[in-house]
C-alpha cells in the first residue's frame, strides 16, 4: 500500500481541496483558471470532474500537485497526507508526486521520452523515490505493473515509438501505478484514443479502486464516461464548481442549470435535434460579475448578475446557484428573471 496512507486516523478523505485559487500570469493580466474551488475525494472513491474546454479542469489537476508555470499564483488549501500541498517546498512536492499522487495525462503519444526505453522509464521512476532497489526487483515490479495493463514482458526494452497510442497510455498508467499512489488524477486519459481502447482503460481504472483502494479524480468533458465510471461527479464552470453530488442522482435530477444544459446537449440514439448552450465560456481574465454562468443561463434572475451564489447542500451533494437559495435577505425584485439584450455571438476564441 502507499506509504501515504493515513496512519490509523480513520477513513478520512485522501484529498481535500479548500478554496483553491490558481491564477496564471499573462500579458493581459491574471487568468483565474481556478477561483475558489472546494472538493473532496474519499479513499477508494472515484470522482469525475466535468466541464467544457477552458473551464480550468486541467489546471485543477496540475495545481493540486504544483505542476504550474513559474510565476503562477496559487492560494488555498490542498490537504493530502496531513499536509497542505500549497506552499510546500519543491523537494517535498517531488516526494509526493509519484508515490503519493499519480498524474495520468491526455496525449500519450508525446508523454514518453523518445530516446529512453520503457525499462529506463521504470527504473528512473522507481529509483527517484526508493533508494537501494536492485535491478532485478525493479524489473519484477515493472513487469508486474505492465502485465496488469496487458503489455507483454518481451516489449519491456522497446522504445516508445514502437508502441501504439493505446499501448502508450497503458504504459503511462503502469508507470503511475508501479509506485502505488494513494490518489490518481487522470486528466482526460482517453480523449485522444478510440472507443475500444477507451473501454479498456476505463476498466483498468475501475480495477484500481477495487483492488488497491486508490482514490481517483477523473477529469474529462465526456459525461458518458463519468456516468459509467464514477461514484460522484463535480461540474466545473469558469473556475468554480457549479454542482457536486453522487453521479446517479446528479444525472437523474441535475440541480444547476448548467448541468441540465450539459446533459441536454449530449447525443444519444433518442436525440432528434441538437441542443446547445448559447454563447461561449467566459474570458477567465475578466469573468462576468455575480454568477459566472448568468450570461448563458436561461433561468437567470436579477441577483445572479450582481451577487455570487453561495454553495447550498442538497440531498446528493452541493449546488451553487441562486435558484436553490439561500433566500434570506433578498427583495422580490432580485428574484425576477434577468432581462438582457440579445446575446452577442461569441468572439472567436
Amino acid at each position: 500500500m502507499s506509504r501515504f496512507d493515513d496512519d490509523g486516523a480513520g477513513p478520512g478523505p485522501v484529498l481535500q481541496v479548500d478554496d483553491l485559487r490558481v491564477w496564471y500570469g499573462t500579458p493581459r493580466g491574471p487568468v483565474r483558471a481556478v477561483d475558489g474551488l472546494n472538493l473532496t475525494v474519499a479513499r477508494g472513491e472515484s470522482v469525475g470532474l466535468v466541464g467544457e474546454s477552458g473551464c480550468g479542469k486541467s489546471t485543477l489537476g496540475r495545481g493540486i500537485v504544483g505542476l504550474l508555470p513559474p510565476g503562477t499564483g496559487i492560494d488555498g488549501e490542498v490537504r493530502f497526507a496531513d499536509r497542505n500541498l500549497v506552499g510546500l517546498p519543491p523537494a517535498a512536492l517531488r516526494d509526493i508526486r509519484g508515490p503519493g499522487i499519480g498524474l495520468i495525462f491526455q496525449e500519450p503519444m508525446t508523454r514518453l521520452n523518445p530516446l529512453l526505453r520503457i525499462s529506463d522509464h521504470f527504473a528512473e521512476t522507481i529509483r527517484a523515490h526508493e533508494s537501494g532497489v536492485g535491478r532485478k526487483e525493479i524489473r519484477a515490479r515493472s513487469l508486474e505493473a505492465l502485465r496488469g495493463m496487458g503489455i507483454p514482458p518481451t516489449r519491456f526494452d522497446h522504445y516508445p515509438h514502437e508502441f501504439s497510442g493505446g499501448m502508450r497510455q497503458r504504459i503511462m498508467i503502469a508507470l503511475v501505478l508501479v509506485l502505488r499512489p494513494a490518489l490518481v488524477i487522470a486528466d482526460e486519459p482517453t480523449t485522444s484514443l478510440d472507443v475500444l481502447v477507451e473501454a479498456q482503460i476505463l476498466s483498468i481504472l475501475a480495477d484500481l479502486r477495487a483492488n488497491f483502494d486508490t482514490g481517483l479524480l477523473l477529469i474529462t468533458h465526456n459525461l458518458g464516461i463519468i456516468a459509467e465510471a464514477c461514484d460522484r461527479v463535480a461540474v466545473m464552470y469558469a473556475g468554480r464548481l457549479a454542482e457536486v453530488g453522487y453521479a446517479r442522482e446528479v444525472f437523474a435530477e441535475p440541480a444547476h442549470p448548467y448541468t441540465q444544459a450539459l446533459l441536454a446537449s449530449t447525443i444519444s440514439l433518442r436525440t432528434t435535434e441538437l441542443s446547445y448552450i448559447p454563447g461561449a465560456p467566459p474570458d477567465l481574465a475578466d469573468p462576468p460579475p455575480g454568477c459566472r454562468f448568468h450570461p448563458r443561463c436561461q433561468k437567470a434572475m436579477r441577483q445572479c448578475a450582481q451577487h455570487e451564489p453561495i454553495p447550498v447542500r442538497t440531498a446528493s451533494g452541493e449546488v451553487t446557484c441562486w435558484l436553490h437559495g439561500p433566500s434570506n435577505g433578498q427583495s422580490p425584485v432580485d428574484l425576477e428573471p434577468l432581462v438582457r439584450e440579445e446575446l452577442r455571438s461569441a468572439d472567436e476564441a
Binding site: V65, R94, G102, L103
Partner: protein, 334 residues
C-alpha cells in the same frame, strides 16, 4: 541499425559526385578554361596553347570531366604552378588546419555548452542575458579583429605569447615532412619543450577561432534546451517526481543534443571559413593560407584540387554527424 549505416555510407558516393561536379562546373563558368582565364592577357598565345595542352584543357569537356573525377578518386589532385603535388600540400597544410580546428572546436564546446545549458534552464535571468550577449558579441567580432586585439594584448603588451606561426623558427627544422599534427606528435614523443612551444603557439589562434564557434554553440544549446524543456515528456517526468537535475540533463539536454549535433555538423563549413581568416591573421601554415595564395596567383588547378578536398571533407563530416545522430536517437534508425 546496420541497415541504416550501410544505406547511409552508400549515400556518400552520389553526394561526393554531385559536389565534385559542382566544383568542376564552378571553375569553368569563366569562359574558356582556367588557364586562359588566369593568364590570358599575360602570355603569348603559343605558350598559352602549350600549357592548355599540357593540362589537357583542349580536349572535349566531357573527357575533362571524367578525367577529373578519375583523378580525384585515385588521389591525384594535380600539381601547383610550382610543381608541388597538391595532395602533398593538402596533407601537410591540411593537417595544420585540422589541428587548429580540433582545438577551436574543443574550446567552443567546453565553454559554450555549459553556458548555453545554464541560459536555457534559467531563461531571462541575469545569467541568461549576459550569456546571450556574450555569444552574440563573440560571433559578431570578426575573427581577424579578435585576433588583432589578442595579438596587441598578449604579444605586444604582455609579451606572453607568440603572435604567429605554428611553432618557433628554432624548432622548425625538427619537423618532418609529413602531417603537421604537431601537438600530438610532441605529446607522443614525450618532447616537453617542443610541446610547450607548440601549445604557446596554439593558444591564441585556437581561442580566437574557438570564440567564433562558441557564440554559435551558446545560441544553439540555449534554444534547443528551451524547446525540449517545454516538451510533454518533461512535464510527465516532473509529474512522476523525478529530481529536477535529472529532468534537465537526462530528458531535456539529452534530447536537445539531436538537433544540436545536426546543426553543429553544418558548422563545419563555418569552421573552414573561419580558419581561412584565422590562418591569415596568425600566419598559421594551414590549408586556408595556401588557398589564398593560390587564388592570388590564379593557380586554378591547385584551387580546384583543394576545393575538391573540402567538398569531400564536408560530405564525410555530414556522414559522421548522421551516424552520431543514429546512435543518439533510436527513431532515426528505422
Amino acid at each position: 541499425m546496420r541497415a541504416y549505416l550501410v544505406a547511409r555510407i552508400l549515400l556518400v558516393i552520389p553526394m561526393v559526385w554531385i559536389l565534385l561536379t559542382l566544383v568542376f562546373l564552378l571553375l569553368r563558368v569563366a569562359p574558356g578554361d582556367p588557364i586562359t582565364a588566369a593568364l590570358g592577357g599575360q602570355l603569348p598565345p603559343a605558350e598559352l596553347a602549350r600549357r592548355r595542352h599540357a593540362a589537357g584543357f583542349d580536349r572535349p569537356i566531357i573527357v575533362q570531366y571524367f578525367d577529373y573525377l578519375r583523378q580525384v578518386v585515385s588521389g591525384n589532385l594535380g600539381k601547383t604552378q610550382q610543381g608541388e603535388s597538391v595532395t602533398h600540400v593538402v596533407l601537410v597544410n591540411g593537417s595544420a588546419t585540422l589541428e587548429l580546428s580540433i582545438f577551436a572546436l574543443l574550446f567552443a564546446l567546453v565553454v559554450g555548452i555549459p553556458i548555453g545549458l545554464r541560459c536555457g534552464r534559467r531563461r531571462d535571468g541575469a545569467f541568461d542575458t549576459f550569456g546571450r550577449l556574450f555569444g552574440i558579441i563573440t560571433y559578431a567580432a570578426p575573427v581577424f579583429f579578435l585576433g588583432l586585439l589578442f595579438q596587441l594584448l598578449f604579444t605586444k603588451k604582455l609579451g606572453w605569447l607568440p603572435p604567429s606561426g605554428q611553432v618557433s623558427s628554432t624548432l622548425q627544422a625538427e619537423i618532418s615532412d609529413g602531417p603537421h599534427l604537431l601537438f600530438f606528435e610532441a605529446l607522443f614523443k614525450g618532447d616537453m619543450t617542443g610541446l610547450s612551444d607548440v601549445v604557446k603557439h596554439l593558444i591564441l589562434p585556437a581561442v580566437t577561432l574557438g570564440l567564433l564557434i562558441t557564440g554559435v554553440v551558446i545560441r544553439l544549446v540555449r534554444v534547443n534546451v528551451i524547446q525540449t524543456l517545454q516538451g510533454d515528456y518533461v512535464e510527465a517526468a516532473r509529474a512522476r517526481g523525478i529530481p529536477e537535475r535529472r529532468v534537465v540533463m537526462r530528458h531535456a539536454f539529452r534530447n536537445a543534443l539531436v538537433p544540436i549535433v545536426t546543426v553543429m555538423g553544418l558548422q563545419a563549413a563555418l569552421l573552414l571559413s573561419g580558419s581561412v581568416l584565422t590562418e591569415e591573421t596568425f600566419n598559421w601554415p594551414g590549408i586556408g593560407n595556401r588557398l589564398i595564395q593560390y587564388l592570388q596567383n590564379r593557380d586554378y588547378l591547385a584551387v580546384q584540387g583543394i576545393i575538391s578536398v573540402f567538398a569531400i571533407v564536408v560530405v564525410v563530416v555530414s556522414l559522421l554527424i548522421d551516424i552520431v545522430n543514429a546512435i543518439l536517437d533510436p527513431r532515426v534508425r528505422y
